[in-house]
Amino acid sequence: MTWNFDILPDFIFNGLSLGAIYGTVALALVLIFKATTLINFATGELAMLGAFLVYVLHMEQGLWLWLSMLIAMALSAGLGVLIERTLTRPFDPSDHLPVVLITLGLFLIINAVAGDIWNYQVRILSNPFGQFPSWVPSVGGDRFIMVFGSRLKYQSLGIWVTLAIALFLLGLILNRTKAGLAFRAVSSNVESARLVGVHTGRTLGFGWAIASAFGTLGAVLVAPQLGGVNPNMMATILIYALAGAALGGLDSLGGAVLGGILVGLIQAVAVTWVGVVVFGQLYMSILQLAAAFIVILIVLLFRPSGLFGTRRVERV
């Protein structure tokens, strides 16, 4: 047993950047849960589809990466609106079963269609943060800087900055626009919102749109870590994101991000660093996904509403 603290920052940085991505996907889950108390199991597949759109636009059509990302986010937002309008709105929102079944069906369809078009091989998608741009003064190398004697990858930095900007924009949309106000009203109380004249259906579509766009962002950011895009890329990410959302509280947007980051840290530090480096047992790396499962169980046992979620009170 060697407590090798020298490389601990490596694991922390890695955990933080993975966690930021889980947080992004968790945010997509929570945005829909907050408005409809529904867990959208197709979140991961919608995000994967977005990543493939980027792949087509950038790698095949040769568009600028960031432009193709924006186009893909807009397209998947449109797809989200379409799904909300056609597939989920006809159902009574208080009855979970049909809508969850619909999202499961979507999960299968999107995954299979993507598999049919692009096969199940991993396709390389270029990394938006592969190398520092030339105007950045080189500190450690062209892919990382040295912090606490460890390499802080440009990729991690890029993910954090992107997520921060995206969160800032989301905050602006939710707090400064009329649609955002309507969204907050609907997620706090659908009935009252409808009574004061909020168009609930349109607002839920708006929630789906933002959620799909965020999912796409998460998928594009995580692709380089997985070696590229493939139709099954989001299968495990979705589980980590669910754990993050549960940890942060299913109805808290900030909680989702923090929960995702915490799950990333738990995965990288508590499981990989302690298990593999300290105890030297390789099987611990298999337990990464199990850790997410255990996090969900522990959260539900001790704090079902999560760290930042509101406790639900029900009147009969």
Binding site: P90, L101, I102, L106, D116, P231, A235, F293, L297, E314
Partner: protein, 479 residues
Amino acid sequence: MSGSLVVVAKNSAEHKKWKYVQWAYLAGFVLLTPLVLEPFEIGKMNRALIMGVAILAVNLVVGFNGMLALGHSAFMGIGAFVTASMVQDENWDYWQVIPIVVIVGFLMGVIVGLPALRVKGLYLALVTIAQAAVFPTLVNIDELGIAKRTGGPNGKGVSEEVIAPSYLEWLPGVDGARGGSAYRFWIIVLMVGITLLLVTNYLRSRPGRAVLAIRDNEAGAAVYGVNLPIVKTMNFAISASIGSLAGLMWCLDKGFVAGQDFTFLLAVDLIIGLVLGGVGTLQGGLVGGLFVVWVNDLTKRISVPLGLYTLNGDGPLAKAIFGLILILFTFFAPGGIVSLGRLINNKLIHIVPLTPSGESIEPMSGFDPGMESTRADTAMKLSIAGPVLLGVGWLLMNVNNLVVGVLAFGLRMTILLAPVAMLVGINELKAHADGNRPDSVKGPASMARNLGALGFVFVIGYALQRFVQTYPIWDIPLI
């Protein structure tokens, strides 16, 4: 009501007759399966029954308790791996492993269910989906002897065959010898029957009624003194133990278990089977299991050329078809196939409930259409439909070997409709003798009776012929 062919009072002698007909259909279906089907098709039937038990387990939570469980693949996996390990490594008998599997499944159900079921909402779905995703990875852990027990990524083969109780040895297909899909079919049928019986009784018991009460009104059930977390968790644990039992049957049937058989996709298959069959019905599981296996098989044969692109059901698109079926059923037939079947059944037979004193709410004669009855005509059409299809199928078969499907369909129609037509014909003739029908009824009614009887005899003869073909009884020495 007047649209129904037959109207009977509940629990009357007439109703009992129809119940016997139903049971005869079921028994005939089960008995004929190992005779009529090819061995690999019996294997499919076994798989369908196993899926049926697992779907029944999911139904116990989703359909009868209103909670969402998406991870029963993991319980199946646990049951299968425990069985494989006990039978292969410890030389236990399959029947001895059953209690172990049930207890292990129950405990896993408590561990997973208790945290999630203490709180209201979709949390069970959250936990179980994670459980389904995690399970296949846990199987591969090298330490603690887990991989040795489970076979790790290579899976584990079980060479031992299940031994049937001696009283099963006379059944067709068993033939005194062990092994073979027909042999396993009977063992699986026995297990399915016992499970169904137990679940039916459980749902009628006090805890079972509490489970249903929670589904219908959670707050109301709590007010009436139902301990919500305990009842929900116990129900989930029972469901988990049934899921593990399905895993045992899986191991018994396949003789091979591997972690990648029990992924999230299996859990989704179970949910699809549940929706296809019918959420909240006992028969739904078995029907759903049958259809999941059948649709899976069917989609593999689809190959539609669309210009440059060929729509191929053998590849990933099979899953898309499943997804599409799931969405379509949720939209247009939320009650599943069972509710559609009930719709047709109501057209055929209407059962009038009785007051506690045994009186019909409305006099039974009120259901009799009297002189305007068209029942005889309908019965005649039913009696003709099967044989006509059979004949057309037979002709087509001689023209082109590919359209055997019509023949098979005609045969099934005859099997299903002949007895109905016969009984309705007899009833109508009786009514005519009582002076309740015009004389014009006599022709179609006797035709329905005669053709129906003929079809009935034909079906029995066909079954006997199949039996004799498979088991040449004249070869068996009499002394």
